[in-house]
Every structure is written in C-alpha cells, then in structure tokens.
C-alpha cells in the first residue's frame, strides 16, 4: 500500500516534470522542472531497491549536471523574451499527435507484454553488490568508460579552446 502510494506520487511528479521541461517558456522553469523529475526518478529507483543508483541520481544529475544547466542558462542571457520563435501551429499539432501516438503505442505494448519475473539477490542494489557486479562481471565496460570520460575531457578542451 505504502509502496503503491509512493510509486504513484513519484511517477506523477516525474511525468509532470518531464512535461514541464518541454512546455515551459522560460528555460529556467524548464530546468527546475527537470530537477523535480530527477528527484522523482531517484525516488522510483529507491522503490526498485536500487539505493546506490538513487543516491547517485541526486548527487550527479541533480547536484552537478543540473547546476551546469542552470549556469549555462544564467550566463547565456536566455530570458523568456529571448526564447526562439515558436513553431507554426501545424508543426505543433503534428508533434503533439506524434507524441500521443507514440505514448499510446508504448502503453499498449507495456500493458500487453509479459515481463520475465526478476529474482534479485537479497542484497540487490546495495553499494557492495553493485561494486561486485561492476568490478568483477563488468570489467570491460568499466574500463571502456574511462576511455569515454577521457574522450569527453579531450573533446571539451578542443571545442572550448576553439581557435587552433
């Protein structure tokens, strides 16, 4: 019961936050909606017993990435008045219809699908359990991520330094 209530609470906030990101005219409001969505997502992770993921969601996404977004919005002087001209009505209608169609399709799929029952181990989601999977089973993806982060560093410097 508690779980169901919490699930619906987090789910509604997550979807509303997502809608807010798309619909808000002021980019600042969009970013704050994203923050709400991030927190709700962390709550959903918690309900799925993925505790480490929930904490990291708050630390990395809400704590670092969103702050970067806010910084960019503030520094770029993107007030609501400077927002791009809104697309013509036909485009909006087509986009809305497409999104609704996709949502309907996915809902039908999810409702009709039979998901294989997951049997997580008792310590699932704990830091140690995640670490064991990450460092023992997923060694190769883990090391590949170091290269990916390196590429991000190099790319950021190359793009920002501009004039070669």
């Amino acid at each position: 019961m508690t779980e169901a209530v919490l699930f619906w609470l987090f789910a509604v906030v997550a979807v509303a936050g997502g809608l807010g990101v798309v619909l808000a005219r002021d980019p600042l409001h969009g970013a704050l909606s994203l923050l709400a969505a991030f927190f709700a997502l962390a709550g959903l992770f918690l309900l799925l017993a993925a505790q480490l993921l929930a904490v990291l969601q708050v630390l990395v996404y809400a704590g670092a990435i969103l702050v970067l977004f806010l910084l960019v919005i503030l520094l770029l002087d993107l007030g609501p008045a400077r927002a791009a001209a809104s697309p013509p009505g036909v485009v909006k209608l087509a986009g809305a219809l497409g999104a609704l169609g996709l949502a309907g399709l996915l809902c039908t799929l999810f409702l009709s699908a039979s998901f294989p029952p997951a049997v997580p181990p008792s310590d699932f989601g704990a830091v140690a359990a995640v670490g064991r999977v990450l460092f023992i089973d997923y060694t190769l993806p883990f090391e590949a991520i170091s290269l990916l982060l390196l590429a991000a560093i190099l790319g950021a410097v190359v793009v920002a330094k501009g004039k070669v």
Binding site: T2, L47, L52, V60, R132, L134, I145, I153, A160
Partner: protein, 124 residues
C-alpha cells in the same frame, strides 16, 4: 520491489527532505505575509545608494566557466565509480586494484593534459 520494512530505513531522509522543503516554504510565506511591501522605485535597484547599476547582470561570460564546469562533471563521474570500489577494496584485492588502477591512470593522464594545457588557468 523493496520490502516496506527496508523502505522504513529511508524515513529519516524523507523527513529531512520534507523539513527542508517545509522550512523554505514557511520562510518564504512568512516574509511575504509579514514583511513590508515597498517594492517600487529605488528599492528595486541593485544598490539603493552609491554607484548606479550599469547594464544588465546577464551578460555573455567567457567560455572558461563552461570548461571548468564540464571538467568538474567528468571528474565527478569518476569519483562516483570510486565509492563502490572503496567499499569493496579488501574483497576485490589485486584484480580490483588493477581494474581501478587502469581506470584512474587513464583519467589521471587526462588531468595532466588539462592541467598542462592551461584549461584550468584562470588568467590564460
């Protein structure tokens, strides 16, 4: 799904969030209800006395702010991978040290590159 009993252990954190949100709301509403309302004229300016404000506070800033922010996120993500490794340090032993050693060494080279390149230099 998480058992309800386990969920209970997160109650203090949920309470903390509630108190934080409640406190912010309460303070904002108290100040709105009780505070004096003189939002006009000279009170709207950045400095009520002294120098006049010039231009808007929203201006284009140098790209170096973004570089530092981006690099922060990259190394933040690196730090995230260190948590579970630190918890399991003894259990993982040498293979774990080797795996993390390679990971950190790669990013350390990235750090040396960034450092020597001057991307962290403010005056550069």
């Amino acid at each position: 799904m998480l058992a309800v009993s386990q969920l209970g252990s997160w109650l203090p954190i949920a309470l903390l969030f509630l108190v934080a949100a409640g406190l912010a709301l309460a303070l904002a509403s108290v100040s709105a209800l009780v505070g004096p309302r003189r939002a006009r004229g000279v009170h709207d300016e950045s400095f009520e006395c002294g120098s006049e404000a010039i231009g808007s506070a929203r201006e284009r800033f140098g790209v170096k702010f973004y570089v530092v922010a981006l690099l922060f996120i990259v190394f933040d993500v690196e730090g995230v991978f260190l948590y579970p490794w630190a918890v399991l340090f003894r259990e993982l032993a040498w293979p774990g040290l080797a795996a993390m050693g390679f990971f950190v060494a790669t990013l350390a080279i990235g750090l040396v590159y960034v450092w020597k390149k001057g991307a962290l230099d403010w005056e550069h």
